[in-house]
Symmetry: C2
Subunit: 141 residues, 2 copies
């Protein structure tokens, strides 16, 4: 079961420009920026209650975010739900008939284990699951 909205991912073309815009929109600055080479993105995180806003800008043209921007333009890219046992939740969703983009959790930004559900099986929404990654935890819970 999902415990919270962990974050909303928003695709942006230029991270500096978008960070300035969302700082004015939310009334707070980002608490962290990070490069995630494996996903081809640089990201900025804003804290909003128990959730975050994650801005994602492409590092290069092969980034999934570059493809999203070319097709749809800037806007909401995905929603991430926080779970306490990501492997159990992936098994539950698979048994419910959801198509997983990741059968196993992989390391994600901001010290998380993450996995995605295909939007075709989730009503057009790209759904991410997130679990906190502990120090020395290298196997995804």
């Amino acid at each position: 079961m999902t415990e919270k909205i962990e974050h909303i991912g928003i695709a942006v073309a230029d991270l500096d420009r978008a960070t300035e815009l969302y700082t004015r929109l939310l009334g707070i600055p980002p608490y962290k920026t990070e490069r995630v080479e494996s996903e081809g993105v640089e990201v900025a995180f804003f804290r909003v209650g128990q959730s975050k806003i994650e801005l994602l800008a492409p590092l290069h043209e092969a980034s999934p975010i570059a493809k999203f921007l070319a097709k749809r333009g800037e806007g909401i890219h995905h929603v991430a739900f926080g779970v306490s046992d990501i492997r159990a939740e992936l098994q539950r969703l698979k048994a419910e008939g959801f198509e997983l983009l990741n059968e196993n959790p992989k390391p994600g930004a901001d010290r998380k284990w993450v996995a995605f559900v295909h939007p075709k099986s989730a009503g057009g929404v790209l759904v991410e699951l997130c679990q906190d990654r502990e120090k020395d935890d290298d196997h995804g819970g």
Copy 2:
């Protein structure tokens, strides 16, 4: 300043079918369904931590959700931030240069005062502000 992600609004074609899907995805049933005639939608709400998932289905072809579905298909429609003083927040955003779709709060679903920010001024994201509506409160705080 925004206090939490109040909800994520997701446009769906068929509320019953989508409610079944999201009940399986989230692992919980909706806590409420509601018709909002003024917006031309029927909605279902799921509780996720301090936030909600709001499914929005059109009641007729003139509904903004019908137009969204025709253009983009099912998917995330807007993000709503919870604030304690919606009028003060609207003034702050206007002073920051954001284009407001509602200069004054209007009654929204699930006992809220709501107002929207134009996505053109907010990086392609349709942003809603929400404030709890008290009993006998008819002027938006």
